[in-house]
């Protein structure tokens, strides 16, 4: 039996990016908040220590900071005719754990989605007709870009994003992204200083008439004091960014932007090494009473609360809802049920360019220092004569030259021996790549549910992921890869090598930790799990924050929008929900 604790106003499950934002906002509103985090406490000086953070083996290869599969794994299969098996090690994506969540070891590419993304279904239907999206299950978000603009702005200024506006109040800005929707003000910091490879990429792209611009980066181009009064340092381009914590206070994360203020508030408590097992519902099943969690010594506790915020990362949010019986689990046969619906990912491809006479110093890099072009992203281009919808950002963002992982050699090179060694040495400094990050559009057969066979260490079913790239997305990716070849040729390398995207999705090689959907937002409770304020349709004192809310995933990294949704939900809670706690903010 769980031991019962004194109640709190709010219990937050997970203290990563979204949990920290919500905790800060709701403690500011005077509420008593506890965040329960299954991983350890982590801070920069101790855990991202400048004396030994630069350790590729430990952090990038053995994945020291990530969620260990022994704690929680997931099963996967490509379609319902297969038997799902556990990902015994995480590979394709790497969920976070511990205070700061995946925000500790992200790259920091920080995007806004477009109005045409928020209205994917109605926009595409209107422009190309219903038949074009008949094989897909794309939906509208229930919010517009205009409603999200100020929330984006707050997240960007919280982080100190380095970038260049492309559209200020409707005026296209030279050097920014001309395809973005209007923003009210520029990024808080100027773009990062470019390294050699993205500079060459941008020249080549421009020579073909494209519009490259500096990737908006949560690695700081200058020192910065954010609106909470927290000081951050200038990025040193250390090259140990993605998969690592930043020892320089230069990468935006909960640690560098929120916790120094949040942790001093007496109406906030963080409980670490404590894993939430479920949200407890009352007898009606329509109100949450709090959560049950288990601490590191195996003791179970019941934490009563007036409201529960799931901020556990999208995939874990979906599983916790299923385990807690909040809403109905999606059934791909009937198309009914909303929890687990519209799981989407990212459709990426790459290309490597080998040169003879150039030195790119690949180790001089940060997670997000680079150039992007959106000419072929989303619906920035006319799909009228094409056989797909969606698109991809093309990114030249060399993140590192860490040699266990980065050792480019041309195809046909032996994998060992003296010939291998010579090729490794010859190409290490003189090779770079760029990639397409493509949209992943919802399809009826791609979804999440609970596995019938495999259990976690408490005997509860693992999350089961059924996913493959929809044909539409594969066609999209190949078309964008053709465009990448044109850019590669303009760069005149000695040789280029394509890495095209084909079926089936594999759980083994790393692709991206951009898992979306499973508890999607929308205007209709039949096809969405949460309303436009991320409030559960079924249990109104539960809010579900994260990329779980995305009805489908555009060709951009998720966290700019995840952070904005956190502010958007916080505003709705502060300004509307607290006036009438327990009531639905949108009538079903």
């Amino acid at each position: 039996m769980a031991r019962k604790l004194p109640p709190k106003d709010v219990v937050i499950v997970g203290l990563g990016w979204t949990g920290a934002i919500l905790a800060h906002e709701l403690t500011d509103a005077g509420l008593d908040v506890v965040a329960i985090e299954r991983g350890p406490w982590r801070d920069t000086a101790t855990d991202f220590n400048i004396g030994y953070m630069q350790d590729e083996l430990r952090y990038a290869i053995r994945k020291d900071l990530f969620l260990q599969p022994a704690q929680e794994a997931m099963t996967m299969r490509n379609n319902t005719s297969q038997r799902a098996l556990p990902m015994r090690d995480y590979g394709s994506f790497l969920p976070g754990t511990g205070v700061g969540g995946a925000g500790v070891h992200w790259n920091g590419h920080t995007w806004r989605f477009w109005q045409s993304d928020f209205q994917t279904k109605s926009h595409l239907t209107q422009r190309y007709g219903e038949a074009r999206i008949a094989d897909l299950q794309v939906q509208d978000w229930g919010v517009t870009y205009d409603e999200m603009e100020s929330a984006y702005d707050r997240f960007e200024h919280l982080c100190g994003i380095s970038g260049k506006a492309g559209n200020l109040n409707g005026q296209i800005q030279q050097g920014g992204n001309p395809f973005e929707d209007p923003r009210k003000r520029d990024y808080p910091l100027p773009p990062m200083q470019m390294t050699y490879a993205p500079t060459l990429f941008a020249e080549a792209a421009r020579s073909l008439g494209h519009h490259p611009f500096p990737t908006p980066a949560a690695n700081l181009s200058k020192s910065y004091v954010n609106p909470l009064g927290i000081a951050m340092g200038e990025c040193t381009m250390c090259g140990f960014c993605e998969r690592f914590g930043c020892a320089n206070y230069s990468k935006a994360s909960a640690q560098t932007t929120i916790l120094p203020v949040l942790m001093r508030k007496s109406n906030f408590e963080a409980r670490c090494n404590s894993e939430v097992l479920q949200v407890n519902l009352d007898a009606t099943g329509k109100m949450a009473k709090g959560v049950t969690y288990v601490d590191s010594s195996g003791v179970e506790w019941e934490q009563p609360a007036e409201m529960v915020l799931l901020c556990a990362y999208g995939l874990h949010n979906a599983r916790l809802m299923m385990l807690s019986k909040i809403g109905k689990i999606y059934d791909p046969q009937s198309g009914e049920g909303t929890i687990g619906r519209n799981y989407c990912y990212q459709t990426n491809a790459g290309i490597s360019l080998f040169f003879e006479d150039k030195n790119f110093n690949p180790f001089i890099a940060s997670g997000a220092c680079g150039q992007t072009m959106d000419d072929f992203n989303g619906d920035a281009f006319d799909h009228g004569g094409l056989d797909f919808v969606g698109g991809a950002g093309i990114n030249c963002i060399p993140t590192n030259g860490r040699p266990i992982g980065f050792r480019p050699t041309p195809p046909g090179t032996p994998r060992w021996g003296s010939a291998w060694k010579k090729a490794t040495k010859d190409h290490y400094l003189s090779t770079f790549g760029f990639s397409s990050q493509g949209s992943s559009y919802a399809a009826r057969g791609n979804y999440l549910d609970l596995d019938p066979t495999y259990k976690d260490r408490f005997g509860r079913p693992l999350l089961r992921m059924t996913f493959d790239f929809p044909d539409n997305d594969i066609r999209m990716s190949h078309w964008v890869s053709d465009r990448m070849v044109e850019i590669a040729k303009a760069l005149k390398p000695k040789q280029y090598v394509e890495g095209r995207r084909n079926k089936s999705w594999s759980s083994v090689p790393y692709q991206s930790t951009h898992n979306t959907g499973g508890a999607i937002m929308g205007a209709d409770p039949k096809t969405s799990a949460v309303n436009k304020y991320l409030q559960s349709w079924d249990v109104p004192n539960v809010f579900v924050i994260g990329a779980s809310a995305f009805p489908q995933n555009p060709g951009k990294n998720p966290t700019g929008t995840v952070g904005a949704l956190a502010f958007h939900a916080a505003d709705a809670i502060r300004n509307q929900y607290l006036r009438n706690p327990g009531a639905a903010l949108v009538q079903a």
Binding site: G30, D43, D55, Q68, M76, M263, K265, E269, K425, Y428
Partner: protein, 248 residues
Amino acid sequence: MSDFPRLASTRRQFLTSAAALSFVTIASRTYAQSISGNLPWHPFAGEPPQPSLAGWYFFKPDEARAIEAIVDRLIPADELSAGGKEAGCAAFIDRQLAGTYGDSSRLYMQGPFMKGTPTQGYQSNATPAMRYRAGLAAIDAFLRKSKNHGFAELNTQEQDAFLKELEGGKVDLGSIDGKALFNLILQNTMEGFFADPIYGGNRNMVSWKMIGFPGAHYDYRDHVGKHNQPYPKGPISIAGSPDWSHKS
């Protein structure tokens, strides 16, 4: 430090009376870590890596001899660098197998274990430590039968020829998948050759010097704008640089 705003009137109706109790110290604090009111920080709380010591931790003497010979063919000594043995790749693998990598204790190791599709990844219950132990024994048995010698006693041509066959999946090691075994050894050898020397491989930063990776440098601001120009400084490791230690 309670400078948060006064409770809004809306909050009063929202709160249950019991919420006032929430600052009372609760028993959970002795189990899970509860943090409130400050940023906790303790000196020396970090977990620096443990430098690798001499000796074998996992391999038995025969295995150690075989694996040293293997890594020395995968990464042969030549004009570009020292070989895998001198670089410490075997010692590196030994330490890895003796730790959490070797026993897969961080992975999901609950059954049932079933054969899956390639997209589902590695599905066996055999840990790296088990695979090396059984794999090296199988290689040894195979070679003693066909060549009358263990791997370490073959000449380098014979060694290379055998490794090529193993890589190509042409060596019948019974129940052991030779190709997968080769891939595992190759992967770990490369990890050892290119990892920070603190783990026992990449001695004297040989691989980093060879390719021009500066290692744990951590601040490149002065070189970002110097496009296409070689980086002037040599590598350093987490443990520092040999130039830093006193010479006796």
